[in-house]
Amino acid sequence: MTPTPDAIEYELRRYLLAEFLPGESPANLRDDTPLRTGGILDSVATLKVVSFVEQSFGIEVEAHEAGVEHFDRIVDIAALVRRKRGR
């Protein structure tokens, strides 16, 4: 099933909270919360997010696309997913 635009953000938030922010109030993770530059994700953790995104949304992320530009905030990741899915 193709997730609706909001579902992408929702799935990402759910995954990030469970995997990297256990016990954190969901209200503290907004779509524009900095993940890489805010210290929530290091580059190894980002790789996990990349794998999750690939598996959950059926896209392929190239090495050069997995940097801060596309993986710092939920909005950025969701935008990348949408752009790739739109192709």
């Binding site: 580059s43 190894v44 090495a63 050069h64 940097g67």
Partner: protein
């Protein structure tokens, strides 16, 4: 947890003890002093099948369940004096062969696995560098794409088996700015132009397992020998570490059991002050601790086998096993020497080598501090 062997496992375990007693005990005091790698024993181990055991039958292996492989490793550890050779076998299996099994393309497996399984090729793993050990993904070795090749430049540190290796599973970054996301795995022909052993490294223990620093100077690796996707070397490396952390210390279970048996014999026979030294509570306590360590280590290692067989992630469990077994292994080595008194300190009794062999276990495949970090992360801290 039931740790009784099945008939099959008992058969493999006992065969491994027998094999090790016959082939892995050849003048090890001299080999340890001279840092000699026993090529004949390596070949014999391959003929016994150990290099093929965890590899699926469809890929030319024996396809043994991992708990059976662990039982074999425990048996080898028990019967062998040459723990360095067993260490080389483990490095070859878990950080070279298994990554190929798990991440290799059918073509890569076809080209590389036969020699690794029959022992005609020796495998090594090149991840650590002079400036990146625990922080391994800060590696500097570069891989530049040039047509249908990558060109590798950099230095790999502490490469077990390097002086005798034919195939190196090596990691390099396609762009240091990408951090872990630049790290990429490669299958490197150790005899290719530009691969040099820049320095043999002498060690405290495991001295019969050769080690060296390796320099890649413009090494051309065909794109078809990239292992996994570009920028996904972390996954390849982490999975190999999970194998190694979980299984490399299975040999130590055998060593710890042998130490306990030797110490029990000695404590019963050695008399001081008119009685056997085992009657002194402070000596008996050491033997109790040795037994306790063995009994707490075995379930942790066999649990990895069961998790692996169930296809489950075991990052935390492998780190716990590595952390606890390595700690116990070193403590057992010290206790065994103490129980034997001055004799334990002398080379002739072959207990001091066990201790020297044990110390590295708190360092390789990630130090004990790093294992604690992995467990803490798994606990959500």
């Amino acid at each position: 947890m039931d740790l009784e062997f099945s008939d099959e496992q008992r058969g493999w375990h006992d065969a491994a003890v027998d094999f090790a007693r016959h082939h892995l005990c050849n003048d090890v005091i001299a080999a340890d002093r001279d840092e000699a790698f026993d090529r004949a024993a390596w070949k014999a181990a391959a003929e016994f099948g150990v290099l093929a055991m965890p590899v699926p039958k469809a890929m030319g292996g024996l396809g043994l369940p991992i708990t059976d492989v662990i039982a074999v490793m425990e048996g080898l550890g028990y019967g062998a004096k040459d723990q360095g050779l067993l260490f080389s076998i483990n490095a070859h299996l878990w950080t070279n062969t298994m990554p190929l099994v798990q991440w290799g393309t059918p073509d890569q497996r076809e080209r590389w696995l036969p020699g690794l399984l029959d022992g005609s090729k020796v495998g090594a793993n090149g991840a650590s560098e002079p400036d990146s050990g625990s922080d391994v993904f800060a590696m500097r070795t570069r891989a530049r794409r040039d047509g249908d090749h990558y060109v590798l430049d950099g230095t790999k540190m502490f490469v077990t088996n390097a002086p005798v290796a034919d195939v190196i599973v090596a990691y390099a970054t396609i762009d240091p700015k990408l951090g872990a996301m630049g790290v990429t795995g490669f299958i490197v022909d150790a005899h290719a132009k530009g691969v040099t052993i820049s320095k043999r490294i002498e060690k405290l223990g495991l001295r019969t397992s050769p080690m060296a620093e390796v320099v890649f100077d413009g090494v051309r690796v065909p794109v078809i020998d990239r292992l996994g996707r570009e920028g996904r070397g972390v996954g390849v490396f982490e999975s190999s570490m999970e194998w190694e952390r979980g299984c490399i210390l299975a040999n130590c279970l055998g060593v710890m059991r042998r130490q306990l048996e030797r110490c029990l014999d000695h404590a019963r026979q050695r008399r001081q002050f008119g009685q056997s030294i085992g009657k002194f509570q402070s000596v008996a306590n050491k033997l109790v601790d040795m037994r306790l360590r063995l009994d707490t280590c075995r379930p942790l290692v066999y649990r990895i086998g069961r998790l692996k067989e169930a296809g489950r992630d075991c990052t935390v469990e492998a780190a716990l096993a590595k952390l606890h077994v390595s700690d116990c292994y070193v403590k057992n080595g010290l206790d065994a020497i103490q129980v034997f008194g001055g004799y334990g300190y002398m080379k002739e009794y072959e207990l001091e080598r066990d201790l020297r062999d044990a110390v590295g276990s708190t360092l390789y495949s990630g130090t004990s501090e790093i294992q604690r970090n992995l467990v803490a992360r798994g606990l959500g801290l």
